[in-house]
């Protein structure tokens, strides 16, 4: 739990000065407010890291400055727990993780993107971080095909409709955290292959085949498949312009929590929306899930549902305010019960790539026995990428 909270606070996410440097653009070309992408940035990503409409002019990493960037955040964290077994209160200045990012074009129609998080031993206000190749994928652009891009490697899958990697908040989306066997967040990166495309009338679609849950062993065949379909109304991608609704279906196999035993079916179904009105965005996600009997220690099938509703307001490109409500309903077989979290905060941008982030989050998790576990997190920090 402690680790989950700490890594939740230090959740790596992707704002990439590599691209801003490459083109000589300000960050707000692609980010409504970093790390969240605007519609142009979303199109750039979906276009395999090539500028929409200027694909022929784009240059490769060999022709442009060294494509590396970093992101970290530092400030004051206050995290108070009640009725939790293994959580420790935090009340101090902290340095929260480090992402090393790289991205660009390898060839004319071949892009790549990478996030490496070096291992950091926690001490004296430096938050611990596991070393990981968080993301490393190659994107093949296939113009005029049904699937415009094919992404291979480790990537943020399309079924994460509201990107957790580019979230405005440091507190995690609860439904994504809960919705996976063996504790791996549903929004975590996956290793595999994904086909994505854009059809007429604002239809967006993606299908993927990935290794799947973390409690599959290394030599398991890739087992998980997913499909996502979305529809955008109006111009844009539903990020900050246009309206978007979507749904995702995910089916996979997972071993029991113990890691021993045959693999069984996990299913997820989600619906999401992103609605924009002037500078206001309302994003929502609903998800239901069912894990077959035997995956969880209880031996029973595990059904849950939940989601979140998030509103953000950009009075100017230099500031954003946000509020979110998360909920997860879990079956009574789980020792952890329903989860409720609400989060409010804001970011003020001194520069496009330097934000003062203020956030308060209140989490409550019911228990089968005893009082509910609570967490109150407050953070003020500078979040910067360079």
């Amino acid at each position: 739990m402690v680790m989950a909270v700490l890594f939740g606070i230090a959740a790596p996410s992707a704002a990439v000065p590599v691209f801003a440097r490459k083109y000589g653009y300000n960050c707000t070309m692609c980010h409504s407010n970093f790390p969240r992408l605007n519609d142009y940035g979303q199109r750039y990503r979906l276009n395999g890291y090539r500028l929409p409409g200027r694909e022929d002019d784009d240059k490769t990493v060999l022709e442009t400055p060294a494509p590396f960037a970093m992101r970290t955040s530092a400030g004051f964290n206050s995290d108070k727990f009640k009725n939790t077994v293994d959580s420790t209160d935090v009340d101090q200045f902290q340095l929260n993780g480090l992402d090393i990012l790289s991205g660009g074009l390898i060839g004319r129609d071949v892009g790549y993107f990478m996030i490496y998080t070096p291992q950091i031993n926690g001490s004296r206000g430096v938050v611990a971080q596991d070393g990981s190749l968080e993301m490393a994928n190659v994107v093949f652009a296939l113009p005029k095909r049904m699937f415009n891009t094919v992404r291979v490697g480790r990537f943020e899958p399309a079924y994460v409709a509201i990107s957790a990697k580019r979230s405005l908040t440091f507190s995690p989306y609860e439904i994504y955290d809960v919705a996976y066997p063996a504790g791996l967040p549903f929004s975590d990166t996956q290793t595999g292959i994904e086909f994505a495309g854009a059809g007429r009338c604002g239809i967006r679609y993606a299908a993927g085949w990935v290794n799947g849950t973390s409690n599959n062993t290394d030599d398991d065949m890739p087992s998980d498949l997913y499909v996502r379909v979305a529809k955008v109304f109006g111009e844009g991608e539903g990020q900050t312009a246009g309206q978007r609704i979507g749904m995702v279906s995910y089916i996979g196999k997972a071993r029991p929590e113990s890691g021993v035993g045959s693999r069984r079916t996990v299913k997820r179904f989600g619906a999401d929306g992103s609605f924009n009105w002037t500078g206001i965005n309302l994003s929502c996600q609903y998800m239901r899930g069912r894990d077959a009997a035997g995956i969880w220690d209880t031996g029973l099938a595990y059904k849950f549902s939940g989601g979140f509703v998030e509103a953000s307001w950009l009075p100017t490109h230099m500031a954003v305010g946000f509020a979110r409500y998360d909920w997860v309903n879990r079956p009574t077989v789980d020792e952890g019960g329903d989860v409720r979290r609400w989060t409010v905060g804001g970011r003020y941008y001194f520069e496009d790539n330097l934000a003062l982030h203020v956030e308060y989050s209140d989490r409550r998790e019911d228990r089968l026995v005893g009082p509910a576990a609570t967490e109150r997190m407050f953070t003020v920090r500078l979040d910067f990428a360079f």
């Binding site: 083109y23 300000n26 409504s32 500078g279």
Partner: protein, 341 residues
């Protein structure tokens, strides 16, 4: 509670410290040519600039005898007193006939390769003789034009000095192009700002520059020293009832992806040259920005960079201020004291 109060104090301190001096960056050199001071104007190797050619081109540019009814010269539609463009949405040619496209400014046109809204001419040399032969604009055949010029001793002499020949089509084109390459305007507040004079632009213009190269999504097309990529983009202008009033670049290439696409105009001195867009349909800079802010006019070929921007009132005003800061020192060029006789 103590932690909460401490954190708030920390936030206030950071805000106070960081708010002291916000110095926005300008345009960084990137993959595409950065927006910055104008370089020397490109001159094709086979038409080097000479004084004799420029003087001849100046005379031809202002001479209404280059039109069938002696009423229209190049300067009629590309007026020096109107930023070397025209003040009406579309210009009038001979017999008060109206064209279909807005007259672009000749100022800094030498940087533009290709020419015309649809790019049908690559160099100014090709562009210069187009309007003369257009039946709506100046309505002269090349034979008639050369016959007229050959009948004017002053022109025969000037052609002899410039090219060592009698008046020819090639000579007319090269002379007008050479003259137009002298109509250059730089040294704007933006140029001075980029050279290090941080007071050259107002704070609003500086903010507008940040919007221009960021949230406004202007730079992907308006890049380079002249603020144009010289490519063709579809904003949806003129699209109604499933049709384009003007097919634009498609008329040149017959490529469906070019339907309704027009060349990115140069933005230097743009504040001097209303109305705007290829059909002159937007009367002010504010109305142009409003068009972009709503994401253009939806159509099947809309440029992928076009999408609603959600600019605030202040951001739009700042953008206008920045565009005004692109107004440079005007070229001290006008009609010759006397046309050749």
């Amino acid at each position: 509670m103590k932690g909460f109060i401490f954190a708030l104090l920390f936030a206030a301190l950071i805000l106070a410290l960081c708010g002291v001096n916000q110095q926005p960056a300008g345009f960084a050199e990137g993959q595409f040519l950065a927006n910055g001071p104008l370089p020397p104007i490109p001159v094709p190797p086979d038409n080097p600039m000479t004084g004799a050619k420029i003087r001849l081109g100046q005379a031809l540019y202002f001479d209404k005898r280059l039109s069938s009814d002696n009423t229209v010269s190049c300067a009629t539609c590309h007026r020096p007193d109107a930023g070397w463009a025209d003040v009406t949405p579309v210009s009038e040619g001979v017999a008060h006939q109206k064209g279909t496209r807005n007259s672009p400014s000749v100022m800094n046109a030498g940087y533009s390769i290709p020419q015309f809204w649809d790019g049908r001419a690559v160099w100014l040399e090709k562009q210069a003789v187009g309007p003369v032969q257009n039946p709506i604009e100046m309505d002269l055949t090349m034979e008639e034009l050369l016959s007229r010029l050959n009948s004017i001793p002053g022109y025969v002499k000037m052609f002899e000095e410039a090219f060592g020949t009698k008046p020819t089509e090639e000579g007319v084109a090269r002379a007008i192009a050479s003259f137009e390459r002298t109509i250059v305007s730089g040294d704007s507040p933006f140029d001075r700002y980029m050279k290090g004079d941080k007071k050259a632009m107002s704070p609003a213009a500086i903010r507008g520059m940040m919007i221009f190269n960021g949230k406004g999504h202007c730079t992907p097309c308006h890049s380079g020293p002249a603020f144009s990529d010289y490519r063709f983009h579809n904003l949806g202008v003129g699209y109604k009832d499933g049709k384009f009033a003007d097919v634009g670049r498609y008329a040149v290439t017959n490529d469906p992806k070019d339907m309704g696409a027009f060349r990115t105009p140069i933005l230097r001195n743009v504040a001097l040259t209303p109305p705007y867009l290829h059909d002159g349909s937007e009367p002010t800079l504010e109305s142009v920005i409003e068009l972009y802010n709503k994401g253009g006019i939806p159509n099947p070929n809309l440029d992928p960079a076009m999408m609603p921007l959600h600019l605030t009132k202040r951001e739009k005003a700042d953008l206008v201020e920045f565009l005004k800061a692109l107004t440079g020192e005007l070229p001290k060029v006008g009609p010759p004291e006397k046309l050749p006789e």
